[in-house]
Amino acid sequence: MKDPVPLTTDRPGQVVSATPPAPGRSRRRLSDRGLAVVFVSPALLLLLGMSVFPLLWALYLSFTDYSATRGGPARFVGFGNYTAILTSAQVHQRALTTLIYVVGAVTLQTVLGFAIAYLISRRTHGRGVLTTLFLVPMMLSPVVVGLFWRFMLDAQFGVVNSMLGSLGLGQVEWLTRQRTALVSLIVVDTWQWTPFIMLIALAGLTAVPKYLYEAASIDRASEWFRFRTITLPLVWPLLLIAVLFRAIEAFRLFDLVYILTSGGPGVSTETLSFHVYKVAFLGFNTGTASAYGILMVLVVIVLTQLYLRYLNKLKEG
């Protein structure tokens, strides 16, 4: 039986005016095109003013020897800043640190996050509670995360060393040794962002149609075979998006380094972002820092393009 309910009344919270206005009552109606421009342009203007214009300014500064403290007119130096940065051994070292950090952290997060999501997706009870609990680290501010891990990893009174001690293991200087500091940074980032991968992977896992598994179990396919031929191929596109997203975020990471290690000891945990900050705000070489920043932006643009391309593919596929 069909009930011809009018479209406008079957939704709650909808205000239905009893008397529609007579056509032509409004003096000047905006065309659709005009309306679109009016609605879109304020947002675009804000973005132009706060994102695009600053970047263009940085682009200009990157060709000069301007210094924010010294003041005075900026002298044009051509590609001098760029060649200085691209040939600097210091920068190469920071690039390597960043690479180790990004690859290490994102790999760990992906493996752990996917494992947790897979385990949760196999549970029948308590999935909501489990998911919610696992998500807590991700919602915390990097400031809170950095500070708190700094406290926990303290060599003298930190709880981590205390637990290692009661297990009869030696003490580790987590944040004050060159090698371990970078590992600590990776561990903390992994702790915070594993839930991110888990959440996306879980979304992918729960979207796998059940009948595929049923068909496979009728065919007596092994668990591993099912995982490899059904689960992984269906979850992979979504997981790839999550991984790329994390890679971009990890590449531009600044706050955690600033709070947890301040780049130290020495320069062992100085990522590219942190180095830009030092050149800009401690060295006051604004021109050089701008060139440095523009180069970083180029990397981010390449990564973002990759990300958006996969996103597009996911949406269309």
């Binding site: 206005p21 947002a43 998911t131 998500l135």
Partner: protein
Amino acid sequence: MAVSVDEAVSAGPTPDRPPPARRVRRRGHGRSVLEVVLLTVLAVVMLFPVLWMIETSIKENRDVYAVPAEFFGFTVTLDHFRDVFVGADGGRSALSVAFLNSVVVAGVSTVLATVLGVPAAWAYSRFTLKAKKDQLFFILSTRFMPPVVVVVPIFLMYRQVGLIDSKLGLILIYAAFNVPFTIWMMKGFVDEVPAEYEDAAMLDGYSRLQAFGKFTLPLLVPGIAATAVFALIFSWNEFVFAIFLTSSDDVRTAPPAIAGLIGGTTVDWGLVAAASVVFALPVLVFAYLVRRHLVAGVTLGAVRR
């Protein structure tokens, strides 16, 4: 439709293990136990730092630095929480001022981003604009710029126009960082409302704008609320712009203020923990409220299924 935590509870592959032979069932059972144990261990590892933070915030100072660490049986005190809000002289503490600043900055920037972003999202959803896809991708990519890079020219710009160390400066930059998110997130919600509602209203004599305001907008309210909550969380947690663009106590937001607690020679970790708990609590509550939209929210509105 966005995948939500709630859906994850009910839907999905149920343990499809029709056990004909007993041997198989026992093996499956052992494996299930192993999985539960593994999950429990992982959950404990992930949640321990949070629990430890809460514990530290209610410990007395001598217990905070106890070696070996005390897990149970310490004296509970709320002194640190009092110190978060009440200054040494009995007046308002610098931290409480910072919290208030955070509320203002995060709140106003969220309103601004919503007011600018929602109409734009609607326009992007309903109209055919020139190079629409490119525009949307450009909008999202501004959100991925490294903050440290953007902050250098923003710093110079603000210095020129006198926005350095002002709440308005922070509000503007946060709004600019939340607009791309709002547009992407809201476009998903608008796409879910059939355009036919507006067409029908326009047949009744409403203008396009009235149709949007009277019929589409009320249906978007839950989506707008969820989007605003995420924008609120992003602004609330933001640190990089806050630390470089503000310096005085009466402008500074909570993240740099809390980070400033470890600047001195001695660090009151109990206070740091209490301030962190106070800071994180609203975020967790808000995140719980929007748990249905978490997947879309944390991917900046990009992933929706």
